[in-house]
Amino acid sequence: MHTVISISGLSKTYASGFDALKGVDLDIRRGEIFALLGPNGAGKTTLISIVCGLVNPSAGRVTVGGHDIIRDYRAARALIGLVPQELTTDAFETVWNTVSFSRGLFGKPPDPAYLARLLQDLSLWNKKDNKLLTLSGGMKRRVLIAKALSHEPQILFLDEPTAGVDVELRRDMWQLVRRLRDNGVTVILTTHYIEEAEEMADRIGVITRGELILVEDKATLMRKLGGKQLTLQLAAPLAQIPPVLSGYGLTLAQGGKELVYRYEAEGEDSALVDLLQELNTAGIAFADLQTTQRSLEDIFVSLVSERERGGEGAR
């Protein structure tokens, strides 16, 4: 598959001395939906901002469609549309004017038919003569998307696209992203919601503290990340796991008072039912039980510690 964005050794140290990115290497494939997953302050926006030309890199190289983003910025930027995280719009412009402006800014001749279709797709058509300051937050977000798509980019960056967005817009946005992908547009989105990455992406990159700690296909990663945990408070402490239950990979905690079972959240998990039946058969009674989904924080902690133990590399 062709690489459309190639990032190598990308670092950014802000004037404050903060290292936002530490030698990131990443290749984005043409036509994929790539989710950059990470907690707040991980470097997601910095990475996007450098590729789009909003932030100067401290070191490293980025090419977009084979064009260096600094030496050949014109060709590189013409391929990109960016939807920023913040709702930043000119208050007094109308929807139509601001979208036309964006198209011109990116060097494309006027095409009212295309823009009309775009506004219709984003349910903005009946607002086209409204001034931006009269629009709701959700509508402004749609306008920002329309602006980013106004010049028919091949690559779309969505920075935290669903932060503070209502259910309807979220659904519309996901539909739009799929439609764009079907038309061959590469979509890169940042998020700190696992579910969002799971719903949308073909591939996921996990970034934390300025380092890209892992890039994988969604299916593989979700198996790794999406685990659940069942904790049983036992009626009587166990000294060891009974041999009949050895197949479940159980662990004891709290000095034998708790039995912990990790399992996959995906699909129908008949193993869970089996386990409970086996416990019953073995005569192990429990006073209470709880299941927890591993939080993103847990996952980051485990991924980072895994990395620090010298196990898995970044790619």
Binding site: R74, R77, L82, L105, K108
Partner: protein
């Protein structure tokens, strides 16, 4: 050249001017008319001719320069400061536009507006005083050169300023005093010798003097020097603006 972008930014800026037409056109016209009434007619009637023209007529080039300078600076500074302030500038920075195209469109729009205002003020002046323009081509030349140079200065100011206070303070504390003390209302020949020397360090003197020469053929300093100084300002401002855009000063972290 990305002409579509230049056109888009230029028209966007001119649309902003249209939206604020009243304050941007009416205010300077009224202010200038008041100057003519007060200084030209009321006080000017008691002032003898200056350098061979009536005081009212003598005022016209200075007043136009005063407006041209302040309007160029304020238009251009606001034009680039506001997107920075509202953060809509992300779009400009991510667009395939060169530094030259950015400057051309923003400075071009600001200069257009201040030149339009100057023409309106000139037209207003004809209602108050008899005017003659001896060197119309030079007049247009100085008008263009000054409008472009000081729109560039405004552009620089708009990038430099990180709050509204700074944006307004520089015109108020630097530009306005320099214009008032730059011979807008008097010939520097009227000053005591010491102050005449001090005044020669004021860059605005050369602009006003050259501009007035294009009207009446008399000047405080030789017109060649005025032209040279105007070109020098242009070169300095082009240099600073280029440096700012190249390094991303206060635009790109």
């Amino acid at each position: 050249m990305n002409w579509h972008a230049v056109r888009a930014i230029y028209l966007f800026e001119m649309a902003r001017t249209r939206r604020t037409l009243l304050q941007s056109v009416l205010a300077p016209v009224i202010t200038t008319s008041l100057y003519f009434v007060v200084f030209g007619s009321a006080i000017g009637a008691r002032i003898p001719e200056v350098e061979g023209v009536s005081y009212g007529a003598f005022l016209v080039p200075g007043l136009i320069m005063l407006n041209l300078l302040t309007q160029s600076v304020s238009n251009a500074s606001f034009g680039i400061f506001f997107p920075k302030f509202s953060r809509t500038i992300y779009e400009l920075l991510s667009a395939p536009v060169s530094h030259f195209e950015i400057v051309l469109s923003y400075v071009g729009a600001a200069a257009t507006k201040s030149i339009l205002l100057s023409v309106i003020i000139l037209a207003t002046a004809t209602f108050f005083v008899p005017l003659r323009i001896e060197h119309p081509l030079w007049m247009i030349g100085f008008l263009l050169l000054t409008a472009v140079s000081f729109s560039l200065l405004g552009f620089i100011l708009g990038i430099w300023a990180d709050n509204f206070e700074k944006l307004q303070l520089v015109p108020l504390l630097i530009i306005t005093p320099l214009t008032f003390l730059g011979g807008s209302f008097y010939s520097i020949a009227m000053l005591p010798p010491l102050w005449r020397t001090v005044t020669l360090f004021n860059p605005v003197v050369y602009l006003v003097s050259g501009f007035r020469w294009s009207f009446y053929g008399t000047a405080d300093v030789a017109v060649g020097i005025s032209l040279g100084m105007s070109l020098l300002f242009l070169a300095v401002f082009v240099g600073v603006a280029t440096w700012m855009l190249r390094t991303g000063y206060r635009l790109k972290p």
